[in-house]
């Protein structure tokens, strides 16, 4: 067990190192000059000013030198300063990351809470109207793009019913109630899509399990259909669902790009987008690195969790 964890940890570190090289290179290969963006429309066209700021920022050095400087600073926990606000990137990330994680976590909860019952109904009532409806809801959920379901949610719950704020962010310690009220729509918007996946996965896995011998055995033993389902079929059917949730949780991070813009939620993705347009290199690098790190940590945790639930993962026998 310890060997497995150590092994996964080392490979995560290697992935992270490779990712940082890709992050650094891809950012520097983009067209558009950060110096011009710093100086603005007027001064940005003055070659002297541009050269001076470029030297100040160290952007005139050869790319490998820049990378080594950046990487060694990163290893010391220094991600540099934003070119626009002059603030340390670490401070900005520390503010933004928890907000994005809130959305992802909320979306995940919404997906599981709605998705598993929906999938269970679809499997149990296969061939009946209720099963059909559950399947349709699930398919509609994962077919609708986030920006469509998001706008529909705003229209219904905010503009028509006036129940929830259409967008915005209020800090938790300023006003907890409004904080969570603002969180509901973005989480549901991002969760609906994922809910469809969870429901479909639950349904197919459950149908598969229900035809297994041990379930028939349980029924023969005298359990009702419902008892056989909840005590024997469902726990086993959920193993692949958990795996899917884990793998796709990282993907939710991608969905936050749209959701944060749509609901004006100042998280990591909206910071990345605005930094990209402004070519704020240190912030872009910091954001991308954090996203990689979050992704890698999530998959590491999922691997470890799965190896606890299912020892076959650890030993490599399948």
């Amino acid at each position: 067990m310890h060997r497995f964890v150590a092994h996964r940890f080392v490979s995560s570190l290697i992935t992270m190192a490779l990712a940082s090289i890709v992050v650094f290179l891809s950012i520097h290969l983009l067209p558009g000059d950060p110096v011009v963006m710093v100086l603005g429309e007027q001064a940005g066209a003055d070659p002297m000013a541009v050269a001076r700021v470029r030297a100040e920022l160290g952007l005139d050095l050869p790319l490998p030198t820049q990378f080594v400087r950046w990487a060694s600073a990163v290893l010391h926990g220094d991600l540099g300063h934003s070119l626009r606000s002059g603030e340390p990137v670490v401070a900005e990330l520390a503010r933004r990351i928890p907000r994005s994680l809130e959305i992802i976590f909320g979306g995940l909860v919404a997906a599981v809470v709605f998705g598993i019952p929906l999938g269970t109904i679809a499997a149990r009532d296969r061939g009946r109207v209720s099963g059909l409806i559950a399947s349709i809801v699930a398919i509609a959920g994962f077919s609708a793009p986030v920006f469509v379901s998001g706008i529909i949610l705003v229209l219904i719950f905010s503009l028509w019913l006036g129940l929830l704020p259409s967008s915005g962010y209020v800090a938790l310690d300023d006003d907890p109630l409004t904080h969570f009220a603002c969180l509901v729509l973005p989480c549901v918007a991002i969760g609906i899509n994922f809910m469809g996946v969870v429901a479909r996965m639950t349904r197919s896995s459950l149908i598969d399990t229900l035809s297994k011998d041990y379930v028939r055995m349980a029924r023969a033993k005298g359990l009702t259909r419902g008892q056989a389902m909840t005590r024997h079929a469902l726990p086993n059917a959920l193993v692949p669902v958990i795996a899917i949730v884990g793998i796709r949780a990282g993907n939710l991070l991608g969905g936050t790009v749209i959701v944060e813009a749509l609901f004006d939620w100042p998280g990591l993705s909206s910071l990345l987008v605005s930094a990209c347009f402004a070519r704020d290199y240190p912030v872009m690098q910091g954001c991308l690195l954090s996203i990689f790190a979050i992704f890698i940590v999530i998959s590491l945790l999922i691997d470890i969790a799965q190896s606890i639930v299912d020892p076959r993962v650890r030993t490599g026998t399948k």
């Binding site: 558009g32 002297m48 606000s85 705003v154 006036g162 259409s166 813009a261 100042p266």
Partner: protein
Amino acid sequence: MNITRRSFHYATLASLAAITAPQLGRSAAAQTPKAGGTLRYGTVTEVTSLDPHVYNGSAWKVLIEALYSPLVGYAADGTITPRLAERWEQPNARTIIFHLRQGVKFHDGTPLTADDVKFSLERIIDPKTAAALRTNLIGATVEVIDATTVKVSQPQPDATLLAILALPEGAIVSRKWIEGGANAKTAANGTGPFRLDVYEPAVRAVLKKNPAYFVPGQPRLDTVEVRMIKSDDARVNALRSGALDMIDFVPWKDIDVLSRMPNFKVDSSGGAFMNVWFNTAHKPFDDPRVRRAFAYAVDRAAIAKAAFFGHGAPIFGPPTPSDSPFYVPDLAQYFKHDPARARSLLAEAGLAKGLDFELIVYQGLGIYTTTAQVIQANLKEIGVNATIKLVEWANLMERKNSGSYDAMLYGVSMKVPDPDAYAYYFGAESTYWAKPIGNRDEVLEKLLADGRATTVTAERKAIYRKVEERLLETSPWVFVNFREQAQAYRRNVKGYQHLGGALNESSAGISLPAMWID
């Protein structure tokens, strides 16, 4: 088109009436202002730096005007009013002597001195700051005469000096505070009507009333919360659902929708204007006949309708609003949509068979892409094939500054309510447009220098008329249309005055101290 022109004029008339005849019993003037309350303002601009000398978008102007004060400022009618300077003299066209108000304190309690004025103006001139007003003030000297008197001199006569110093970008900062190592990008210490309470770059700013503000009775609001919401739909929805009291940059498609709703008021007027820029160093755009052909080919009325939903008055002459003292009525219809004329100009230039070129267009706003598509169709009629290339902002900047384009669609606004603003765009030494492509028109250079050298308005009017004639004749840009900029607010928001022309961006900043919530 008629409707937009007319409503545009009405807006101007209304604001003039508001200023000149408040006694006529305007509904807002009839009410007594209330003190206190919070204004929740949503803006499209993501303000990432609060440095009062480095331009950072429209909302930055509003924030800087609220937090800091320049020596002089603008009143809503465009006249220059005292701010930190209670009076001033202009002994000649090169010099202004400012007499400072007594007893003004920065938000941190330090008293304002003449030395702070010197420090601030020198900070603007210092190339390290990359200040917005630097090019206007290069070579200027600032002398402290005594604790409350400062003399500002330009090397050459400069009729625009006072107008420049009245912009919010001419903010006076505290020497002690800046030299003490404060980060002026994330903190603020001014003398303005509000002080900075909370600021998160690109997200929000909360301003609180400055009780020691030097104008008695102002500001009326206790708190101003500025939320930066880039998404147009999110901003409009936040206003509609009651989460905000006021928004800027109302999307053109929503101007009519919001105006029809009973709870909201929408104020709109021409501010920025759209243009086709030519790289006059590239063939065949070095030939004025080709550029004039384009100016005749573009159907401005169609663009106003298609791209701006009727809220973008066409510009057939120079881009001077009709309420400006420098407006020349007989130049206003200089170009019209005339494809036949355009074709014959192309034939004269030896391009009877037409030409192919690439039009660089910003991808981030629908008005740009729609305008470009109409222009593309118009040019097709005269045998010109335009390939539209959509680029993002950083790429657009890079092309503009290196001159790597044939033609580019670009929206600009006049920075100063003075016709010398033309020098900012067309002056050969200005890096904004002319310098990167090496455009130098000696006739224009002479006229622009003459215009700065005199402070006599009648003489200046004659000079700038010639400037505009020259610009239309040579057409380095095709002026397309004014894009109306609109602000929408709840009916209980009072005291807001929407200004047109160069002061449009400053409307909210100028109004803020007198605004209140009913």
